[in-house]
Amino acid sequence: MTDNINDQPEGRVPARVIGTPPSNGPILGGEPVHEVKDVPGVIPPDPISARKAERVVALLFTITFLAGVAFIASYVIFQVGTIDKTAASNYALGSSLSIALLSLAAGITVWVRRIMPKYNLVQERHPMASEPETAEYVEETFLQGAGESGFVKHKMLRRTLLLAAAPLGLAPLVLLKDLGPLPGTALRHTVWGAPTKDGKPRRLVVEGTGQPIRAADFDSPGGILSVVPEGYEEDLNALAKATLILLKFRPDELKSGTNLNWTHDGIVAYSKICTHVGCPAALYEQTTHHILCPCHQSTFDAADGAKVIFGPAARPLPQLPIGIDSEGYLIAKSDFKVPVGPSFWERGDAEAEAREQKA
């Protein structure tokens, strides 16, 4: 902008306020205007300033050269491997690259602003629509071509062509069918209901260690344990539906929502897969017995059948019927009675169905 250009002779006239024009002097500001070539709208730079600018640009381009060399050197000098070495290599490569790019960019900017002319060139615009004669010609040609092709006149040709196109258009979609199997009833079952090799009930094991859980040892009320089915500890497809949270309550803490027949000595197992969109509901607040899903904050009351008390989930976390085997380890007595995880179209009110079956 133009500033500091009205050196008024009289002291009583105040400095100019931004937005007002100078009361005298050239409209484009104080720099001398050198009209070297007589091209309207191209205002050449001041030669002295341009010479100074050239030195600045040259310095910046030299910095880019040096930083570029430093980048290649850093690649050779700094090896990766440990965290510290990788960090050093990252800083060396990144900062030399950044400096090279930054100073090249700055150099070109100074070049444009101080060595190239200032432009105020004007170009005409024309309406986007073509001239009426052109449009008329195109229309005539189109109609002529359509007539020549016989597409309009020969009905059978036209109809069979459309007929021919339809199945070909569908073919790519048909080809996609083998992307995956049909869902069937897969979403209604988990591996907790699958028979084991030796025919014994499936044990609950601790996620990560794979240790079976002796009911008598899991006795700290308030504790929460992430549990997976024995034999499927690393099967991600199985874990995506079958992972459990295991909690222990004092008998007086459990409310009517929890099915006591499916507990063992105050130990309750709920599906860990949130009924909203399937994140693991992994957070537990001991004092309130609230299970919280960290994704969208659906909150379930663990003491009351994991019913929803806040958030977008619409259904409680399903409860797994558990018991103990002859050695005292926790086992699944059956599969979940309702599908676990997010809702889906074919699901229906599985909870009501389960209640009816029981009654």
């Binding site: 990252n90 800083y91 790019l101 004007v122 497809n237």
Partner: protein
């Protein structure tokens, strides 16, 4: 330079003889590009895209898009011996065993964020200045398509490293897909090749992420550029600028050099971020398992509004005839995105219908001069903003010690109230700014000179504004209003007789009526020019 250097002359003659390149260059070398800072916003997105292509290609040289299980044996000690997918292992390998790999990975991620952020602010610029109007509606639609594809591109890319955080995003995608009525389970099983997570999704997302979507993006971006080139860029109002011309700098050499410098600046900033601002440290998250999650997980910023809308939703679900419609998933996942994207795509055409304006527009509006459009824009921004903020309500709750549930409940009301307030406030601000423009043109600018009149009254002397600023303000154009007036017999015009027609003329009236028309130079006493007589060349006011 008086003669063209031989090598250049040789090559150009060769090309001209074969392609006739001369006539193309004759028309385009000195193509004029108008200047304004806001015109650079779209360029940020464009240059980020170029950086994404370059760095992405580098990453594919080492990345293995496979969900096959391997035992990690690379340089990162804490995970040695851990079973993980080949995808995650190769992402770790890029980070710790390839020199510059971590840098390029971080640059790629930052460039992706800047790509989408650049598109968003560019789109807001185009919206608020009305640069989407005829003849640019097609380019606007291409832009909406680009933004949608970019979000999808981000989602697929984010899922590739197969770490615990990216897997959580994938799981949410699956949960939302399952909720789609009738076809949800089928789509999910097709995408994942069976049950979630299966063994196919990473390699499928890889193909979508590096081939399918970038190919479409490249084609659409080229079309976007060609249309911009053919239609010539819009310009801001100002001295010597009209609907029939373009004023600015020529493509060769000035704009070319500026664009080159800006590419480098963009790259430099992204490189600085990639060097010093750690992003997505996948080695801290561990390999994906559907059984685990870390608290405080946040998606990339552009997915935050979807996360927020999912969190905001009350638990609504409909069961009928053995089927389930889970509104608590479908509404938040589809409605806000649908409102924003459909609204954007339709806006040029709705505006045209309301105003009946079929003219070409090449002078950009100042946002204040179309207060209803600007207010609608800010309504959209606050709607998006509230959802986005709610996507981080756990962080807000933890950092500001507010109850988590209270943030959600406040959000459920705020999503309706705040955009409404934003509409009203923006509208009033626009009207206020128009008033100040009007005041500047008619009364001039405060000069800071206090003058005492002969009868003792003190006034502040006003001077007319600088010509270029005044011309900028005078660039305001009236918004057409469709005819709704009844004729002499009290019969409304044909189009305005139906209920829709009446609605249209009412909306048009509200949208187009100029409450603050510009008028110049009706003077008052205080208009005495600066020390009349002190400066013979001082600007006199219009009275």
């Amino acid at each position: 330079m008086d003669t063209t250097p031989k090598p250049i002359a040789g090559v150009s003659t060769f090309l001209d003889d074969r392609l006739g390149a001369g006539s193309f260059l004759k028309r385009n070398m000195r193509k004029i590009f108008p200047d304004h800072w806001s015109f650079l916003l779209g360029e940020i997105a464009l240059y980020s895209f170029i950086i994404l292509l370059l760095t992405g290609t580098f990453l594919t040289l080492w990345f293995k898009p496979s969900m096959g299980e391997v035992v990690y044996s690379g340089s990162y000690q804490p995970l040695v011996g851990v079973k993980m997918s080949e995808a995650y292992a190769s992402a770790l390998n890029i980070s710790f065993d390839v020199r510059g790999g971590l840098l390029i990975r971080q640059i790629h991620h930052w460039a992706a964020l800047l790509f989408i952020a650049g598109m968003m602010v560019h789109m807001l610029r185009v919206f608020f200045t009305g640069a989407y109007r005829k003849p640019r509606e097609l380019n606007w639609l291409i832009g909406v398509g680009l933004l949608t594809l970019a979000l999808l591109e981000g989602l697929t890319g984010y899922s590739l490293p197969d770490d615990l955080l990216s897997g959580a995003g994938l799981r949410i995608t699956e949960g939302v897909m399952l909720g789609i009525p009738v076809v949800g389970t089928y789509l999910t099983f097709l995408l994942f090749g069976g049950e979630y997570p299966g063994h196919d999704v990473i390699s499928r997302f890889f193909t979508i992420h590096i081939l399918l979507i970038p190919g479409i993006l490249l084609a659409l971006i080229s079309a976007h550029m060609i249309l911009m080139w053919v239609q010539k860029h819009t310009q801001m109002p100002g001295t010597g600028r009209s609907e029939k011309n373009v004023v600015g700098a020529p493509f060769y050499p000035a704009f070319m050099a500026k664009a080159g410098a800006f590419t480098l600046f963009t790259f430099a900033v992204i490189a600085l971020l990639g060097t010093f601002a750690q992003i997505n440290p996948i080695w801290l998250f561990g390999p994906y398992t559907p059984a685990d999650i870390s608290a405080g997980s946040q998606p990339d910023f552009y997915m935050g509004f979807l996360e927020g809308s999912l969190r905001l939703m009350p638990s609504w679900e409909i069961n009928f005839l053995d089927h389930t419609v889970s509104l608590s998933v479908l509404i938040p996942a589809l409605v806000p995105l649908g409102i924003v994207m459909t609204g954007l795509a339709l806006y040029p055409f709705i505006e045209q219908w309301v105003t009946g304006d079929r003219r070409e527009h090449h002078i950009a509006d100042r946002p204040r001069n179309n207060p209803h459009r600007t207010a609608i824009g800010f309504t959209g921004i606050t709607f998006y903003g509230v959802l986005w903020l709610l996507g981080a309500n756990d962080e807000i709750s933890a950092n500001f010690h507010i109850s988590l549930y209270e943030t959600t409940i406040v959000g459920r009301f705020a999503i309706f109230i705040v955009p409404a307030i934003a509409y009203f406030v923006t509208y009033r601000i626009c009207i206020g700014l128009q008033r100040s423009d009007q005041a500047m043109l008619s009364h001039g600018v405060e000069s800071g000179v206090i003058k005492r009149l002969p009868h003792g009254e003190y006034i502040e002397v006003h001077t007319p504004p600088m010509e270029d600023i005044a011309d900028h303000i005078r660039g305001k154009k009236e918004i057409p209003v469709v005819e709704s007036g009844e004729d002499t017999d009290g019969i409304p015009p044909k189009g305005a007789r139906t209920a829709l027609g009446r609605l249209r003329s009412k909306m048009s009236q509200a949208y187009g009526t100029d409450h603050i028309p510009l008028e110049e130079g009706h003077g008052h006493e205080e208009h005495a020019a600066i020390g009349a007589g002190d400066h013979s060349d001082g600007h006199k006011d219009g009275h």
